[in-house]
Amino acid sequence: MSAVASLTRATLAKDLRLEWRSKDAINSMLFFSLLVVVIFSFSFDPTAEESRQIAGGLVWVAFLFAAVVALNQTWAREMRNQVLDAYRVSPAPPNALFLAKVVGNFIFVTVLQALMTPLFIVFYNLRALGPAYQLPIVAALGTWALVVNGTFFAAMSLRTRSREIMLPLLLFPISIPALLAMVEATGAILTGEFSARFWIVLLAAYDLVFTIASLFLFGFVLQAE
């Protein structure tokens, strides 16, 4: 267990340091979601009441698309100089690598959300009428749901032609229940009309199921020849 933890920490530290120096992923995600926010605000031009109804969907669609941008770059770094092949022949547990990538992406997307939230409030004139303390919980669970499957499918699409197109094609259908839960929970909290509890529980269940499944199956994907 300690081997997994130390390897995870080492890989995560390396990824974070690389990202801190280049800021590739976070910059492209930020600009991308900014564009989505501006275009949506432009094309719908909602009133405060309307935007409260649709904001849950807008926010999460923006984050989903932005996350795909980051997820597509996740493994590209390891393909250069055959790092992934070296990892494959080493006795290091595959799950440590996977966990490090997931946590890294989780941090990137969370930073993105923290930076984008003020913009959403400004553009859509948002104010939560429900219990606002649930919003960070929904954000964390939702981001984990996107990132854990996204990292897994990004590793899968490494082995395919035109891998950048492949990732959303694999990720979106499987993520439908999670997306529905995020959107509904956010909408419930913003409008305050009904309780978000069911959706939060569903999100937690989704996270649990797919985290376990990914940890079980990542070895197969890494070793795929």
């Binding site: 899968m156 395919t160 499987i174 797919f210 199956l217």
Partner: protein, 239 residues
Amino acid sequence: MKRVFPILAVLTGVLLSYALYEALIAAPTEQTMGDVQRIFYYHVPSAWTAFILFFVNFFASIVYLIWRANKADIVALVTAEVGVVFCTVVLVTGPIWARPVWGIWWTWDLRLTLTLVLWLIYVSYLVLRRFSSSGQTPLLAAVLAVFGALDVPLVYFSIWFFRTQHPQPVIGGGGSIDPRMLHVLLINWLAFSCFAALVCWSRYRLEVLRRDMDETLALEALLEPRSSHTRTSRTERAG
């Protein structure tokens, strides 16, 4: 085995035509919906067949993950392809029926959404199979099938939270159905299942042949005399 195939084919043909007669002529007309209801004899059997095929696909994928049996992979591929076709039939016939009866083409109801999501997952499964390079395809596809199967209960619960508009399932769902209609439904289902099995079988044989041929071609390329290669490369260099 070779003699079983034409027998099954003839049997399926007879069953399908009998089922068509039963559904369009023999079955009693529904009181409120009228003749539109007859689409039910195609919609429901297709749905059951598609779900069975997807289940077989999941089972074959698990078998492949454990034992790496090529036959299991071919079964998974074949059932996914035929399942998507039947699922498409369900998704097309549903709105045709819903428009005159409900007044709307589509609604985000439990069974409709579940079927649509299943269809999306299996289309992405087929896309993955098409796009990935040959050696890794079976493994990646099997992993995706497991993910898809895990997704189904989550989709179910997420949409279960909404209101459900779809008529309750007629078998084991508390709904009542005329025994004559049930008889027609089951005959249609039998005919559709035979048809699906027939298509799967011929597709299976085709896939086995295709893989054999690919293997033979690869071997021939290896065994080909070196001289022809050097000759072509020399002419290329000269060109």
